[in-house]
Symmetry: D2
Subunit: 452 residues, 4 copies
């Protein structure tokens, strides 16, 4: 495709996006009102499906797109309740049944012409927090605060999904002018990095050439854009239970096997593991609950911990050492230990090639102009690389695509925020949503409309 | 008083006790139906007061008899609720107000003639357990199971109080034939050894010559009696909170002060303290709760622990070493530590002199005959001394009386039991109640009716 | 044998013993001058052999009487040197060769008539201490201080051996008047309880009916005698080495396996193991040596520890828990651990039957008279039982004899001492030696001269 | 000074240096034969003084140039012996007396014209290692192996001093053509980073404008040169002694205060301190020695440890946390703790300005030509910055000069080596010495001969 053709197509889609701005924001606000925590996004999934059905966009969901081997951190006992609530909010029985207990959806847009396969991923879940209700907050003033007590979209995933749906609608409507296939994946349970591995290995990446995802806000202001975030920390989230034998602490202490003491040993050993010349390594035992009574030798101790590393190699070495420390502690006191992985993420890097082409697409679509810093522009500041602080399970998608020869790009889509992510005062500048949609469109056209 | 006089008086009172057997058992069953945990015995206290009022027995309660310095392990936030429940069960507003938030009562029986002062102590509280409801249990068959959900008299204190009230009634009715003063103390919160010190130092022991108390069941079968239980372990029940500073475990670990890690250090140090050539010493950290999230450096850790010792000296040395370990741990990681004593008991021994006189009283009252083991007798087996396994806060009363020159005796009143104390299947042979009443009467007459 | 016969025989031997008093003391002083630490008693063994040869008393030594499976705590590299020193002091090459590197001797006295087999055991080793040289000490005044630098008989084993040799001479000379067999065992390496198990299982106890041993001094003054010491603590002496991997602590810490840290974990776990309701239990890690340089992750850590228990059961349970703690610690950090048992002792009790007969023998031989406390008598105070503080590997002999149906007796032979055992000022009242010889003789005659 | 003048002066001095090559190597070999460990370089200091006297170069030594506040890691009891050995090797009594027990010298070369003050620093000490004697080593073949048993120049300080002396001779001879002042400091005890702080604060840096130092070898081959080494880790070397109370572990454990256990706690706490988001942080307890006997509660435990940090701030925060951990551990068990700083270094960076001018000097003096990689040249590869692995106490000089407005440069002077530094097989390519001398000369001329 010639450059002019691309520019023409881009213009058409940008116009359409602008016309859909109101709907874009309305979608975001709807999701904002009904936040659901990871793996329980039944209402959210239902609403996405309803939207896709309305515009006749093909989609897949349930067991077809998720790998049950990595259902990390699912609280199975909450699922029935969450489905019930979704039903009460109007999601049809049929949709709920077909989900087979698994939240998340994949829209699939097949163009007329053959071509590249690009996968976009948007995350869906809220956080178990009570949204702040002070009058100066936009969600309060505009009446779209959370209606789910104790749950809040405090990270911007509501905005991610709104962008994903508008993109699906625009791309589907223009499918005859495109080539290849675009899959728009809505992934559950990003918080706690629980859902990523299941969806990255569940089939949605088969034969993919490109993978795009991104995050609103973070350290980036409205008008800033990061192509190629890096520095994701690889991580594993682990729960450990030590099982000992209880005994009366005064009368027969020698018959007990002290799980609490065992857990203390484990903690102290674990916290010594973080000296590594290869790069950052982190461990934290954040929660410990042990014992049933003051005068009883504890027969049970529960730990929540996480390992992190600047590279997957560092993190995995650390993880293995951690497991040895835990098993050794158990051995010390004749206790058993049980492990449950509750989440994980790997390191990942965006590909240089796709960063370069994305930059070119921004220029050609007039989203960004080198050297110009006009504040009125969609994008006034472009970073080619910027460090991400923390962990994201999008990394599994990136590594998976790259393993099969594809390329990945992670975007930082600037948006002014009112408080740090995960804070109950969090809100973001909704103007960033339209910019985000345009950025995805421009990059998609550049990647997929290439000459053969 | 001549021996025959004593025997005559004993006979009168024994007859009366036998006639009150039904009431004795009824009282026990009433208390059994409305168990209340320590410091919250508002209904129980109200019922005792009602009984004393009915028979015009003088009594004191509230701040007059409790030392607020040792209100160990009171859950203040539960008090309003417990009072409300007592009111709903019919305890008058007036009584409840006069309690001043403090459960427990002291009946005071002053004889015509001057004489010795003897204090009897009965404990009142139930346990936070749900009573078993299997059909084979007597409380189920006879319909006197606990009506307080999650609470149960599983230690026999219901029986103790029933004996105390019947004793009060008989002694008060016979006060003209007695000399001296008898105080019958109903002490709250024995479980967790929380109430003893407050009541032992609250005034009820002023100028006391003798102190009597005892326990139903334990290792003793119906028909067995122990004079002079010994081997109570001195103990302190301690809650510790470590306060640190939270931080994001991945992003800025160096800014945190890890209270969980601090607590683990403390636990490991504490558990090393129990080698003592002077006798038994025990420590147990039975409960630990720490941290708020996997990826957050814990800013709070809570421990429940206890120290025990064969002597108060051993226990206090151990306690001091424990405090040093805890403070040292806090210092290590720059955390604060807060201590709250939640209970305590000392060692104590019954006095030889009073044991001998008690034995004589049993013989003279025909409660026990040397060498005879007829199973039909009230007492067929007598132990002069027997080891108590565990801790009891009656020890504070014993030590206090002895400090002032008085004498103390602790009885093991045999009673067949259906399951170990504190077990939800626990019940005891109610026939032991009458035996218990007689034993107290015989010993009281012997101690108080002496020649001048 | 009739009572009078026994008394006659006793008298003969007592007379002989009195005539040998000077030799008895001379022997003790000779041994005192040439103390040797455990397993290195080559000179001492040589001198015993020379004495036995001189009086033509049969004996066995070397591999015939020691079980190499329990050569605990032998410092093999010192043996050549110790033999060299013995040679320089005049022990013949032939004797030294025949020892086969194993110190210790057994004199065997076979009577004309058949009868019971009695084994006596005396320990031989000195301590690695420098004897005090202050003028007020008898060994200084009488010129028999240690001539081995850094080594001293500070426990009385020199006296034990002197008694053993004089007993051998007297018994051998009177063998025609005795029945049965008497074996007098000189056991090496009692200090650190290293040699006992090897000799108790090396053959000297085969078919034994009685076993006698004892100790000079301890808590017993001259003129006191204890029949039936009890309360020996079972013990195991263990050396542990952790092997890790060294690494530069600044440049590549992640490649190391920290043996020092591993050992610290082990220590902390070990020190938590001593709460046991069955009786006294003790653990101590007394020595730790780890690491080679400040900036190197330690690849080696060495611990010396001991477990003790009031019963062998307690001690063995503790030992097993200790091993688990050590192995668990090693597992934690990927280290290896190596164990070396360096000594051991069990609990043991003297037999009631033999205590009674020994008491009778003391009476019949006029060594002790009931109720009489004349200070001039050999024995003025008799204890039938008395607690031993600490551990002794004589216990293996006692248990072994008892296992095969024989009986054992351990004596406390009173002797005034100038300082506690193992102190460099230690010395004992040499008059106790003659008393000791007589006590052994009287008991031996009683046990062996019985009617058939 | 004009560029040509500088080039002319450079040429003169380079020629002189070349003529002195034999002496340069002879000096190095002389020092190599008589290595002395830190603070004990009496022979070495004497030889330097003799050389300076021979060429009449002024110098200062003893208390005039060292700050006694930071005499870290001096083994005072070795000093008399070391002086004795120096005397035997021919150093005069007078020189030895004037040293006042302090090794190290400063040569002071004052030019005719006023100008800048530049300080050069060379380190002097050997290592406590036994030099390898295999025939293939140059020091063996050329007969200049260490004649001090157990001591070796295994880091190249012998070469540093040789360069320093030749520089002193050349610069002094040409002092009339120079301006300003050059101080050549020979610093003791660099190994273990013990002497740096004392000399950096002892007066030699007063009013200094420039500071130059460097190291032979490291990661740099012959012909390579690094201007501006960075990444020095700040560090503190600390010895800790815990003092407890000993007790018999079996008989009276409760009377002891266990210093070994205390030290184990400290170790485990210390090893948890290294998670820091600001950069590299390291801690290592490399050595522990504790206790006197298996059955004695240890009253003494000794630790050698070090803290390191990518910045002084990180290291100092870590150090403070470490001190808290140690004090807290002591508090836990009622032990005392004693601290002794044994060494230290800070972070430091070379100044950009002086790096640029040094590069220019290399070009102008034809020591290095951009783009040319001819192996025959003195310098064929130039690095403007390169990371230093580890710690160096030269950093105190660099920071001190910079604090007063001066500039510092640390050089990596390439030299092929036969084994890693500190290895007993270590040796270096002596050709690098002449290159080193020339590099110092070129940079000195550039820095000091500037126009006014």
């Amino acid at each position: 495709m010639e450059c002019e053709e691309k520019q023409a197509l881009t213009k058409v889609m940008f116009d359409e996006a602008e016309q859909l701005t109101e709907e874009l924001i309305a979608l975001r606000r709807q999701f904002h009102q009904y936040p659901e925590v990871g793996w329980l996004e039944f209402y959210t999934t239902g609403k996405i499906i309803e939207y896709l059905k309305k515009y006749e966009i093909p989609f897949r969901y349930g067991k077809e797109i998720a790998n049950p081997q990595f259902f990390w951190g699912r609280e199975e006992e909450q699922i029935a309740l969450a489905k019930e609530e979704a039903k009460e909010l109007g999601i049809s029985n049929e949709i709920l049944e077909e989900m087979e207990g698994i939240t998340g959806v994949e829209a699939v847009i097949t163009a007329k012409k053959e071509g590249k396969v690009t996968v976009l991923r948007f995350d869906m879940d809220g956080l178990p927090e009570e949204e702040a209700r002070n009058e100066d907050r936009v969600p309060v003033k505009k009446h779209f605060c959370s209606k789910h007590e104790g749950c809040m979209h405090a990270c911007g995933h509501d905005g991610h999904m709104a962008m994903g749906l508008i993109l699906a609608r625009i791309l589907y409507e223009n499918r005859d002018r495109l080539s290849g296939e675009i899959r728009i994946v809505f992934q559950p349970a990003e918080e706690g990095v629980r859902g990523g591995k299941s969806f990255a290995t569940g089939g949605v990446l088969d034969h993919a050439d490109y993978f795009l995802s991104g995050h609103l806000g973070m350290d980036n202001k409205s008008g800033e854009l990061v192509l190629g975030t890096y520095g994701f920390l690889a991580t594993t989230k682990l729960d450990v239970t030590f099982l000992g034998v209880s005994a009366h602490a005064g009368a027969s202490p020698e018959t007990g096997k002290n799980a609490l003491l065992c857990a203390c040993h484990a903690v102290m050993a674990l916290q010594t593991l973080c000296q590594d010349s290869r790069g950052v390594s982190r461990i934290n035992v954040g929660v410990m609950k042990a014992g049933s009574g003051r005068n009883v030798i504890a027969d049970r101790a529960f730990l929540q911990l996480e390992t992190r590393g600047e590279t997957t190699e560092i993190e995995q070495d650390l993880y293995e050492k951690a497991i040895a420390c835990i098993k050794g502690s158990a051995m010390m006191y004749g206790c058993e230990c049980q492990f449950a992985i509750k989440g994980g993420a790997s390191e990942a890097k965006s590909d240089e090639g796709v960063i370069k082409r994305a930059k070119q697409a921004l220029i050609q679509s007039y989203l960004w102009t080198e050297g110009q810093e006009e504040k009125e522009m969609d994008i006034h500041t472009l970073y080619e690389k910027k460090k991400f602080k923390g962990s994201e399970d999008v990394t599994y998608f990136m590594k998976e695509v790259q393993k099969e020869g594809g390329q990945a790009l992670y975007l930082g889509i600037g948006a002014n925020i009112t408080a740090p992510h995960h804070n109950t005062q969090f809100d973001f500048d909704e103007k960033a949503l339209l910019t985000g949609v345009k950025v995805y469109l421009a990059i998609l056209i550049e990647l997929m409309m290439q000459e053969h």
